[in-house]
Symmetry: C2
Subunit: 264 residues, 2 copies
């Protein structure tokens, strides 16, 4: 028996449901292309299964951590032993790493993913004015990470103004930048982090003039791949960042966090 | 969100260590060739992780069951809610299915796998006289399944005669066939279910005349693929069944038990 061999690294992704999640397929394509001995597996888990999952996964030697999606992001943040500033402030995680002694270390990578993708498109965050549509956890993570990258001003817009105000207050408490909840006349970077623009929903509330004056337009939606917002940006010759680019950047951050990027 | 979609079926295999186990690769090749949405993943789990694993796996909706290897076969047999007659008698399982209400239903498939492979080679079990070298769980499972298939006589041979006697007593208690613990002068089917013949070990104690007079010779070892025993059988023109053929037959039984053979 070759006990010196290393077992395949297994990265579960928890959801309820989970069948719609593209992450296992996308990650496994990356692992396969690299010849990396790792596999991402979906786990369709109701909330009652979270506690035993955590007890079990702390014991497993070849699970470096796990990912999560709806509806477990907040419950898992509560279960973590350590949280990043963003995860603590927003009360959600999408990635949990197993640290020394089985410590659960939680992070929320939506902001990193979106802003990495925006920077890859050529836009600069330092000094930028952003408009973020959608005051949920993704919008919050993007706002906080934009502050980390020295953005100057953020407008948080939501169909529910109270939700936008509540998030704005949180972001102000953590970050030194100007945060408003009103749509400005002009901005450098427009980000949709809301369901607006998905099939059957209204488009995000960015008027033509705002789009035409921006330096970069980004959409977190992955369905459709090319949203009306992205089409409008491209029509004006403005760099457009699609949800799948954000997802790819985010996946790289997650894998690095889980220690899966140094291999090979 | 497409909630009607079915999540990938995930089949963990628990071991400590687990890196040496070929099952995930072999099963995933089968799933891939069939276009079946299922994945077998190794879990390197110390005994302390078994209880939480069981609590968790009862909640996960896309885990139809799991496999296990050393050193968890006996602990998991104790944890099962239902056991096959063979698993109960031998006190070990290598496959556990999740039944109604999360019931753990355990089975030990070594016997089925070996005897399916022997029958595929053309040998008949009904009325046959077998010699089984190795009085561990595999030898016991093979003996019990040979009795189910109406073998007439079994000789159980082990380097430790007390171990052979203890197993012989168990088999006699469950099966109506003649069980001895002495090497006979002649037999129809010779089976090695012991480590004898693996690198660094002595070969199984089957003399040339016994091999020459047999109708089928089988070896459970998978390393080396072609053992000295199998080579000797082939030299005499006798059908030789290799460990990998047993493993393939066993895998099919396991997948059927887990509901993975009806798909596609």
């Amino acid at each position: 028996m070759k006990t010196t061999q290393t077992a395949t690294q297994v990265i579960p992704i928890l959801g309820d449901p989970v069948a719609q999640v593209a992450t296992p397929r996308l990650w496994n394509e990356v692992f396969h292309a690299r010849g990396q001995d790792a596999v991402c597996v979906p786990i369709d888990l109701p909330s009652a299964g979270l506690d035993p999952f955590l007890s079990w996964v702390r014991e497993a030697r070849n699970v470096p951590g796990f990912l999560t999606t709806v509806p477990h992001k907040a419950s898992l943040a509560l279960a973590c032993d350590e949280l990043s500033a963003t995860a603590r402030l927003l009360g959600v995680v999408n990635t949990v790493r197993l640290g020394e002694g089985g410590a659960l270390i939680g992070e929320m990578f939506d902001g990193h993913g979106m802003l990495d993708a925006i920077e890859q498109s050529g836009a600069t965050l330092a000094g930028a004015r952003l408009v973020i549509c959608g005051a949920g956890a993704a919008g919050g993570a993007i706002a906080l990470e934009a502050a980390n990258r020295h953005a100057e001003e953020i407008a948080l817009i939501d169909a529910d103004p109270e939700r936008a105000s509540a998030l704005a207050e949180k972001v102000r408490s953590a970050a030194r930048l100007r945060v408003t909840t009103e749509m400005p006349d002009g901005a450098d970077i427009l980000v949709n982090a809301s369901p607006a623009g998905s099939p059957g929903a209204a488009p995000p509330p960015f008027v033509e003039a705002l789009i035409a004056g921006a330096r970069c337009v980004a959409d977190a939606l992955t369905d459709p791949e090319e949203t009306a917002l992205l089409k409008a940006a491209r029509l004006h010759g403005i760099p457009a960042v699609a949800g799948k680019e954000m997802a790819a950047c985010q996946a790289e951050r997650m894998r690095a966090f889980l220690g899966l990027e140094q291999r090979n």
